[in-house]
Amino acid sequence: MTSQSYVRTEMVAAQKPPGVQTGIVLWMREKLFSSWLNAALTLVAVYAVYSILATVGPWFYRSVWTGSSLTECRATLAATYGEGVSGACFAVIRERWQQILFGFYPRELYWRPTLTLVLMLVALWPVLFSSAPRGVLWFSAAFPAVAFWLLWGGTVWLPVMILLGFAVGYLAYRLISPLNGLLGAIAAILAPIFWWLFLCGPAAELVQSVISIELRQLKSADFGGFLLSTVIGISGIVFSLPIGVLLALGRQSDLLIVRTVCVAFIEGFRGVPLITLLFVASLLLNYFLPPGTEFDVILRVIIMVTLFSAAYMAEVIRGGLAALPRGQYEAADALGLDYWKAQRLIIMPQALKITIPGIVGQFIGLFKDTTLVSFISLQDPLQLVSSIRANTQWNGVYWEPFLFVGFLFFIFCFSMSRYSMYLENKLKTDHR
């Protein structure tokens, strides 16, 4: 018998792991052909991919980019590749891409949505990346007003006065809160609302009559295409997150009335299809408003989409709140943080971090749902594609414009998805 001791007389140093096999052959054996069934499935999958590529590939390869009608496209195809050969006719996109992007926005004013897009990227920069200079956040805060002015035009003083409403609220708070904290908070909410409803418009007109700065005013009917989708989508995304957070907190509140209102709101908006809400926005809302009120249809749609999405958002965030251990609330309480500070510094950062996938999923869903506005006869990209296809020149074009629209949506949604993964990685501090 060999001498094998059961108790160590000296400790063993850490050793290298036994050689790990690598290489393409091993990888294939493990991942593709590990059993007869898997080998068969691999072969079927390879064949399926091949047959799709074999059909779509040549179609893309034989694409025609010039021409002003489908007939011309077909003639070019026949001349190049022979009679009866199919190929993509991307000439339609080359001719109509501006319409799909901007709808019926006046051609000479395309610079306005383009500039808005560039400014939007600047405004998003500090929000999305913490390495950006913090000062830019002030621009981000003012951006909605800037975008509104650039896109719709009119006097510059209206958005300025709207922004001033926040200053009015702050002023009211500073003046009244020393007397009574609760009264100050109420004043901070009511004063700006009063300002926006009654004083904002006349004040803007007054200043405009003295110092006239204005852009050509456009109607909401001029909006269309991706411009419309992004205006509705981005506004919905930006406004639904904070409203969703408040609703989620309200639903957990100890105050009966707050909780009931929030629950009723969430369940009400979640229980109704978005399309119904859009019809309410386009038709029904007019009956409730005082006659003669001109309430912009895009604004109405944005409000409905925002509220609809906020209801879902609230439930997603509530899931995150429920996932936090009670000890986090207790530790915050025990340190003397009040409710809002605890929420802002301890609870929300963690709850939002947990729910990033859900929140971004909701954003992506909202963005794609903006195509539903075609039902209330707004010119979303798909609606525009239909009208392009109804045109005699392009009658019969099918895949190409839809592919283009799909591709644009994909870019937006895919970047959101990628950003959310980046953010999740960046915020990963629990080292579990």
């Binding site: 251990p325 000890g327 986090q328 207790e330 530790a331 309480d333 025990a334 340190l335 003397g336 943080l337 009040d338 500070k341 510094l345 301890i346 950062p349 963690q350 971090k353 915020l427 501090t429 629990d430 080292h431 579990r432």
Partner: protein, 258 residues
């Protein structure tokens, strides 16, 4: 163990830090705390022990109103705990609390965990708060971990960070809710050492624990609770050597018996 010389330094003043009179608490219909009367003088080190479910954690959680009492009166540093939020926040910023499961904030670094409350509650400038935080991290002997996240630390280190986090608020009273119960045996000592050091500096402490060695070393009073009531209280020596009630004897024989 603490020498007698050091022990003499841990003075108890006549000033009352916590005064609980005729306090009752129910969870639904279950009567958790019954007629609690307790007075803690400044500088006292009190250990509360008792079987599980005896209400000892609930009692100290009432002192900073993590739990609400329904009857009786709790005065902390002259402030009565009622539903008045201002009083509650005032008491909470004066009373530090250490939990069984540490409850550090996992999304913040150790340093941020320590400076958060001083900056947002006490309005201390960031720089100063960080200096204070580093001072206390040095005191609990882990200044080198300041820029790590809680998840990267061992249990014992996390609990010492939690103690430092409470100390950064410069509390006048410290509550410990089973601070070593979630720790591996090897780490219990490092946390107890920190607590003993704190006691030597004259901190008023109330500690729910089963560490009887700690009770003997630093406590000036041991309180035994059972079924939501204070059954016995005495100096540690008397308490361990000469328990009065049958319930106490049984409890002590169970935890010291092996």
């Amino acid at each position: 163990m603490v020498e007698t010389a050091k022990r003499a330094k841990m003075e108890i003043s006549d000033e009352v830090a916590i005064d609980i009179t005729q306090m009752n608490k129910w969870y639904g219909t279950f009567h958790v705390l019954r007629d609690i009367n307790m007075r803690v003088q400044r500088g006292e080190r009190i250990v509360i022990c008792g079987p599980s479910g005896s209400g000892k954690s609930t009692l100290i959680r009432c002192i900073n109103r993590l739990e609400e009492h329904q009857q009786g009166k709790i005065m902390v540093d002259g402030t009565e705990l009622t539903s008045d939020l201002k009083n509650i926040d005032k008491v909470r910023s004066e009373v530090g609390m250490v939990f069984q499961h540490f409850n550090l904030f996992p999304h913040l670094t150790i340093l941020e965990n320590l400076t958060l409350a001083p900056i947002w509650v006490r309005k201390t400038p960031k720089k100063e708060a960080e200096e204070v935080a580093m001072h206390f991290l040095g005191k609990v002997k882990i200044p080198e971990q300041a820029h790590k996240f809680p998840g990267q630390l061992s249990g014992g280190q996390q609990q010492r960070v939690a103690i430092a986090r409470s100390l950064c608020m410069k509390p006048r009273i410290m509550l410990f809710d089973e601070p070593t119960s979630a720790l591996d045996p090897e780490m219990i000592k490092e946390v107890l050492d920190t607590m003993i050091q704190l006691a030597e500096e004259g901190m008023t402490m109330i500690c729910v624990t089963h560490e009887m060695g700690f009770a003997q070393a630093v406590a000036n009073r041991v309180i035994f609770m059972d079924q939501g009531q204070i059954v016995e209280q005495n100096e540690p020596k008397e308490f361990f050597n000469n328990p009065k009630s049958e319930r106490t004897k049984l409890f002590l024989s169970q935890i010291l018996g092996h």
